[in-house]
């Protein structure tokens, strides 16, 4: 068998196995809205762990992290720094969010805002902001998948068919199995990814330098400035590092798709235990960075840093191993994309269309329309990815900084009795406005600080100021007694 055929067979086998698991996972369940979006809040510790890990480690983590080690150098360490810290933040937020979710049957982040702040306009705004930042993220998964499968199959499958086939599968198992499907495909994906990352991270430096230590020694001799901040970048210094790490750690669990994962847990204490052990999963990240650093020494003139990992793997390993990487890479795109598509569709119908256009719509109708929207969103993201539209890349760059702006509304909603609906509304708009402006006019970093961090500070200030000016409407979730959701 030719190299291309071996790799191709393995990639197809892995994607096929993933598809089978995804479809099978939801077979025994009736997919109403509650089951579809949050797995009936019945997922056990291991599945929640896998779902969160599955959503966290996307193609961007894989290709982007090694790519930035290659092209940025030192500042890439922000990834090693924020990963454990975001789980620290989750320890103090997710169990409380889960509890509110359980009591008021919340399914999405926008539900949280509606019930806590009693405003359908805030709900619609939160849904809209979430969708705007999710769609480029889905597109990025598609583009990453296309890159990986094309490279790993030695061009045997080109980008567009790879994207179309695998995302038809994604849309399929999202429709049949909802969030459960994604959680179960994560089992295969995490196993393969862990194997691939550990193997590449150790074998690549060993192959060229005889080990990780000698590789770093060689890099420290060749380019000592590359290993510390600001590395190869102009202005990503220490101030940028600290503000980026703080912003990302706070922002991470503000992505709407993680809120659904949080609600799908069987009990809240599980999320606390999860937060304790999750940082251990990040142990693959240093290895991915090491591959990027090695690539800089071995292949110094790549046109695009994001190709660093794939290029060096292709140069180093036999065809069958490329097939495994290709399959693992494809699943790494498919699992997060599945949950992102599901979340965007639910937000659009349940939290944007329903409150504004059809307040009387029943949940069963919401579920039907949301499933139809899955196809629409998949098609839109595919369209953008195939035409490789670059305008959306700009949106993605401000994605993290954008979702970070939900943080004041969430954390004050949980713990403050003085925050008002108007305050959160004004804070969210000013925060998103600032990061949108700074991001699109390329002011990152802004005076040395991460733009999202600047937005977050303004957001907090505006939220506090506006809240203090007006009397408070709802002091906490508990004012909604008797239990139930005000529609």
């Amino acid at each position: 068998m030719s190299a291309s055929l071996v790799a191709l067979t393995l990639i197809c086998a892995i994607i096929g196995a993933g598809a089978f698991i995804g479809f099978y996972a939801g077979r025994r369940y009736k997919m109403d809205l509650e089951q579809w979006t949050v797995g009936n809040r019945a997922l056990g510790m291991v599945l929640v762990w896998l779902l969160m890990a599955g959503e966290t480690y996307t193609t961007f983590t894989f290709l982007g992290a090694s790519g930035r080690a290659y092209s940025w150098g030192g500042p890439v360490l922000y990834i090693l720094a924020y990963q454990p810290l975001m789980y620290v933040v989750s320890f103090y937020i997710l169990p409380q969010m889960w509890e509110a979710g359980k009591r008021y049957r919340l399914q999405t982040q926008a539900d949280f805002f509606r019930v806590r702040y009693g405003s359908k306009y805030l709900e619609a705004l939160v849904a809209l902001v979430g969708i705007i930042f999710l769609i480029p993220y889905i597109q990025l998964q598609l583009t990453g998948l296309g890159l990986i499968v094309e490279a790993a199959s030695f061009g045997g499958i080109s980008r567009t068919p790879a994207m179309v086939i695998s995302f038809s599968i994604v849309a399929g198992f999202v429709l049949t199995s909802g969030v459960r499907g994604a959680a179960w495909v994560s089992v295969l994906k995490d196993f393969l990814l862990l194997f691939a990352a550990v193997f590449i991270g150790i074998a690549v430096p060993y192959h060229y330098f005889g080990g990780i230590g000698p590789m770093f020694t060689a890099l420290a001799h060749a380019k000592p400035e590359h290993l510390v901040m600001p590395g190869a970048t102009k202005n990503f210094g220490h101030l940028w590092f600290v503000s980026t790490v703080l912003m990302t750690a706070l922002a991470f669990f503000m992505w709407p798709q993680y809120v659904g994962a949080c609600y799908s847990a069987k009990d809240g204490d599980m999320l606390r235990r999860n937060a304790v052990i999750m940082p251990l999963y990040s142990i693959t990240m240093p290895l991915v960075l090491i591959v990027g650093f090695t690539a800089l020494l071995v292949l110094p003139n790549l046109p695009d840093g994001d190709l660093a990992l794939l290029s060096i793997v292709r140069k180093t390993f036999p065809a069958w191993f490329l097939g495994v990487i290709g399959g693992a890479g494809a699943l790494t795109a498919m699992v997060p994309a599945a949950v992102q598509i599901l979340t965007a569709a639910t937000l659009f119908i349940k939290n944007f269309c329903r409150p504004i256009l059809a307040p009387s719509m029943a949940d069963a109708q919401v579920a039907r329309l949301a499933k139809a929207t899955v196809l629409g969103i998949t098609a839109i993201a595919l369209g953008f990815a195939i035409r490789s539209s670059t305008s959306l890349v700009a949106l993605l760059i401000i994605g993290y900084t954008g979702v970070a702006q939900f943080f004041p509304g969430v954390v004050l909603g949980l713990y403050s009795r003085r925050v008002t609906t108007g305050g959160v509304f004004a804070g969210l708009i000013s925060g998103v406005g600032i990061v949108g402006f700074l991001g699109l006019t390329k002011h990152e970093p802004f005076m040395g600080f991460n733009a999202g961090f600047v937005g977050l500070c303004f957001n907090f200030a505006v939220t506090a100021a506006v809240s203090l000016l007006r009397p408070v409407e709802l002091r906490s979730f508990d004012e909604h007694l008797p239990q139930g959701i005000p529609e």
Binding site: L77, Q83, E99, L227, L246, Y415
Partner: protein, 77 residues
């Protein structure tokens, strides 16, 4: 919502303090430890120490709500 206890918040602040604020001190290549540049080694160490800190925070939270486990209500009262 019931706020986390001060003790558990302090546990969570340890990794933040270690990673963020002394960055000027740890962002250096030498001394290399186990063949890793010092900044890389420092962050890797905290990747492993963070679960220890959070385990401490967890013990404190559980002691505060002994019935918080598995009853589906968390610490809500």
């Amino acid at each position: 919502m019931k706020r986390p206890s001060l003790g558990s918040i302090l546990c969570g602040l340890i990794p933040f303090a270690a990673v963020c604020f002394p960055v000027v001190l740890w962002d250096r290549v030498y001394p290399m430890v186990w063949g890793l540049p010092f900044n890389f080694f420092w962050l890797l160490t905290w990747l492993l120490l963070t679960p220890l800190c959070m385990w401490g925070a967890y013990r404190l939270e559980v002691r505060r709500n002994p019935d918080g486990r598995n009853n589906g209500k968390g610490g809500a009262q």
